[in-house]
């Protein structure tokens, strides 16, 4: 008798308390339904997975990380959803592989036109503090062959403007400097779908530069 049943039910989907088909469920996990009577496909949302593995759904989540293996012009994160994440935080340590000083820009949604952005900066070099506003989205300035550490907080504000502020530590030893910047885009956006850190000069993001992007909210 048992072998007859086994022969009849060789597949998971033939059971009574499971889906009848795998159609449309590629990549999905299964979970016990709320009535605790059967298995159903999970929607794989962050909060659902967080609940299943018993971690808080409201922790900051690492979205991606990348270490530059050979000098390049830019690092771009795609597939983002700023409307869901609310805020992104980028941690970076970058090295200028060239013998000229270059800005690092932050572009959103593929818009690489500098004139579409403004940045206000404060620079502290010992007791000398200077400020300026520039018509480009500079988040850091890399001295020639220098390294730096910076973080950038990024959002789309309630009026739909792209905003960021960055904090940079540059130069070394007795020359160490602090730079703070606040930037926006000149027109509104509907979402943040991609972010690009681009050097002003060719191949100025050197091998060994590291970037980690976090999102502040799990939807």
């Amino acid at each position: 008798m048992l072998h007859i049943i086994r022969a009849a039910l060789r597949k998971f989907i033939q059971l009574e308390d499971t889906p009848n088909s795998y159609s449309g469920l590629a990549g999905k996990l299964f979970k016990v339904n709320s009535a605790e009577t059967a298995l159903e496909a999970s929607t794989n949302t962050d909060s659902e997975i967080a609940e299943a593995v018993n971690v808080a759904a409201n922790v900051m989540e690492k979205v991606a990380e990348v270490e530059v293996s050979s000098d390049c012009d830019y690092v771009e994160f795609t597939g983002l959803d700023g409307n869901s994440a609310w805020f992104y935080i980028l941690l970076a340590t970058a090295k200028n592989a060239t013998s000229s000083a270059y800005d690092l820009y932050l572009y959103v949604n593929g818009d690489t036109d500098n004139t579409h952005y403004y940045t206000q900066q404060l620079r502290a070099n010992d007791t000398s503090i200077s400020g300026t506003r520039i018509n480009r989205p500079t988040v850091a300035v890399l001295g020639e062959n220098e390294g730096c550490l910076f973080e950038v907080k990024i959002t789309k504000d309630p009026n739909d403007y792209f905003r960021f502020f960055s904090n940079v530590s540059r130069f070394t030893g007795s020359s160490v400097e602090e730079m703070i910047r606040s930037g926006t885009k000149t027109s509104t956006i509907t979402n943040i779908t991609s972010l690009r850190i681009q050097a002003q000069g060719a191949n100025a993001i050197g091998a060994g530069s590291k970037f980690i992007l976090f999102k502040a909210r799990r939807a």
């Binding site: 690092v75 597939g79 000083a101 620079r123 300035v141 060719a202």
Partner: protein, 74 residues
């Protein structure tokens, strides 16, 4: 002119090297912009340093005049 980038798809975690074509004119414009920005920063820094020096000198002179700082600090 081709510029090289690293594209990270956060949905799949895939990192790929990509190349983007920009015109020579655009590239030259960027280089000039970089030079101009560096020069602007250098000049701003020089002005700020001079402002600091002048303020420091004036502050010392005033304090000496008020008798709160010895002449030796001039």
């Amino acid at each position: 002119m081709k510029i090289k980038g690293l594209r990270v798809d956060v949905k799949t975690g895939r990192v790929e090297e990509v190349f983007e074509e920009i015109s020579d004119e655009e590239y030259q414009k960027r280089l000039e912009e970089a030079k101009k920005a560096e020069e602007e920063m250098r000049i701003r820094e020089m002005i700020e340093r001079k402002k600091q020096e002048i303020l420091e000198r004036l502050a010392r002179e005033e304090l000496i005049k008020e008798g709160r700082l010895p002449e030796a600090y001039k």
